[in-house]
Symmetry: C2
Subunit: 350 residues, 2 copies
């Protein structure tokens, strides 16, 4: 039996998020940015990266590991690269700023690479790359985080489930939006299997001692997608996202000690200005023609749809924008309780 | 029983390659570049991308699909982007030029993105990204090619096994070199199973009609790594590598007709100037510390080594540089025959 859900209009959910973060000490502007990013994930059906993350942000604020009033600085040592020091800002604040910086720099340089140093919980990284796509650019993003994924040959968490996202604007189709973890299965999905009492697929996760398991209660670390491939992607993302901004996560984590185990993330966001290569309209037509080709491939089953990355999320967004966002009653209760505890106004209807 | 192999010194194999390409009509400079790239793959143990590809290049020259005397042009519309028109040049020629262009531009802009339009057979893309690493930069590369890989829900080849490569220079360790196809299994590996009469792993390939198979004789298309993840990566690589340079491969392929089925590839090579972010020595130390962390993880089996991407290839290179490159006798015979047919000198000892 599915958990009871309440359907909440987008604007109401956004107001709740914004009120909670303002009460937690962020500026109104930052609170609205966070609301944008988290509610966007819920609108697209990525509920694991939406408002369900709010309690964790509040916990990080309380512990002093996230900073509600960050002093964000941007250094731009060359025309096409910048480093944004997030000063512990929540990911939505730091990465929204970073992608806007990348888009602005790509307008003149053609491409831009913005490293983000020292943020927490980026949320759904597809938000930022698709924001670049809304400016008519291609967006690319990677994140590095604290190790929580298996590695070929190791018996413990070695690397992180660090995601890769690429967004490419289309014409008649929604933005092509790849947003994938380097793990076979998301940690949130393991928790869902645990709650539902259903076994995990084979080859998706290992127990705390590194042995493969399909028991969601025993599963501790997801396996990297494609074994050495996913593990290798995660490792190079750490070197690019954390190494270049001088804020290594993996080496400090494995050195032991409480400092290295603290939650923190680094990221890279890139924008590529399509107009620098030629006509954006022509590019969009090429994307459409490529997606037309995908959609008209012969299918292995008549009832199986041929989807491109981001297509399902765009459909869910349209539907949830119209009909509201289903939120589990228990989560909504927790958010209301959090709001009341920190003195945030709970919008009417919740 | 393994096929009989002849061990060939690096310099001899390089001379053979160079002689063959010069006889096939390329300039001496281009022939030496091609020899560098192909023999590098053999040195690192990536024999599927080494001299075994020579007959295919010769075939493409003969058919007029590859150009031994290309008029390569580079346009640089902005500080950090360029488009190299390969004019049908073999991949090693076009992509070596492109990575040098990217490195040179990244010196001033911090990062550079070079699109390569209309090349054939790039060879091992790790060669180009590790060349950027030799200049103390990070190198990133993707390739787009003619569809030869399955797609979730489709019953035919939809996308290509397009690779991603990332190279990051280390200090005491060899360069971290990720070079992965987006497929579960390489086409060359399927052929090896067929020759050896051994079944494929489950979930690696499908037959021509899209049904899963472990029979290497029936296997036609490899499956994408991680299903929608590998397929999605391949699709966005096509949009970035082919779309931005206005030379779409997928849409023309699926439109049918002989023109769309011709072999051709596009690519993107990027260089990121580490020195623009800070001390390169500090960066190399961070990479070393991260690799130290990987190497000292607890292992799931005492005889299992913990490797980082590119480590095995670097060890093989050191060994083969010293001891020579094992080449199957049959392949060597074919190459000798090709050389004699086109009037290329076969070096002494072959």
């Amino acid at each position: 039996m599915a958990a009871p859900r309440t359907v909440v209009p987008e604007a109401t959910l956004r107001a709740l998020v914004s009120n909670i973060f303002t009460a937690a000490g962020t500026s109104t502007e930052h609170a609205e940015t966070i609301a944008d990013v988290l509610v966007w994930a819920n609108l697209r059906g990525v509920d694991s990266h939406g408002v369900s993350r709010i309690p964790r942000y509040l916990e990080l604020f309380a512990k002093g590991e996230a900073n509600p009033k960050p002093d964000i600085t941007v250094e731009q040592p060359r025309a096409a690269i910048a480093v944004l020091d997030a000063d512990g800002a929540p990911g939505p604040v730091a990465l929204s700023h970073a992608v806007d910086q990348a888009v602005s720099m790509a307008r003149s340089a053609g491409v831009a690479w913005v490293g983000v140093r020292g943020t927490v919980h980026t949320g759904a990284i597809g938000y930022y790359t698709s924001r670049a796509a809304e400016y008519g650019m291609a967006g690319l993003g990677i994140v590095a985080g604290v190790p929580n994924m298996a590695y070929p040959g190791a018996s413990t968490a070695a690397v992180a489930t660090s995601p890769l996202s690429v967004a490419v604007p289309a014409g008649k189709y929604p933005t092509v939006l790849l947003d994938m973890a380097t793990a076979v299965i998301a940690l949130g999905r393991i928790a869902q299997h645990k709650n539902a009492g259903t076994p995990l697929p084979e080859g998706a996760a290992v127990a705390a001692d590194g042995t493969p398991t399909t028991d969601p209660a025993a599963a501790k670390y997801p396996l990297p997608v494609g074994g050495a491939k996913g593990a290798g992607m995660s490792l190079v993302f750490e070197l690019l996202a954390s190494g270049l901004v001088g804020n290594p996560i993996m080496s400090r984590f494995h050195a032991g000690g409480p400092e290295g185990r603290k939650h923190r993330q680094n990221a890279v966001l890139m924008a590529v200005d399509i107009s620098a290569f030629g006509s954006v309209a022509d590019f969009r037509s090429t994307v459409d023609a490529t997606l037309d080709a995908v959609k008209s491939l012969p299918r292995d089953s008549p009832d199986r749809e041929l989807l491109f990355p981001g297509e399902r999320g765009a459909a869910t967004l349209a539907q949830r924008r119209a009909d509201g966002i289903p939120v589990p009653a228990k989560l909504l209760g927790n958010l209301r309780a959090d709001a009341e505890r920190i003195g945030a106004i709970v919008p009417d209807g919740l």
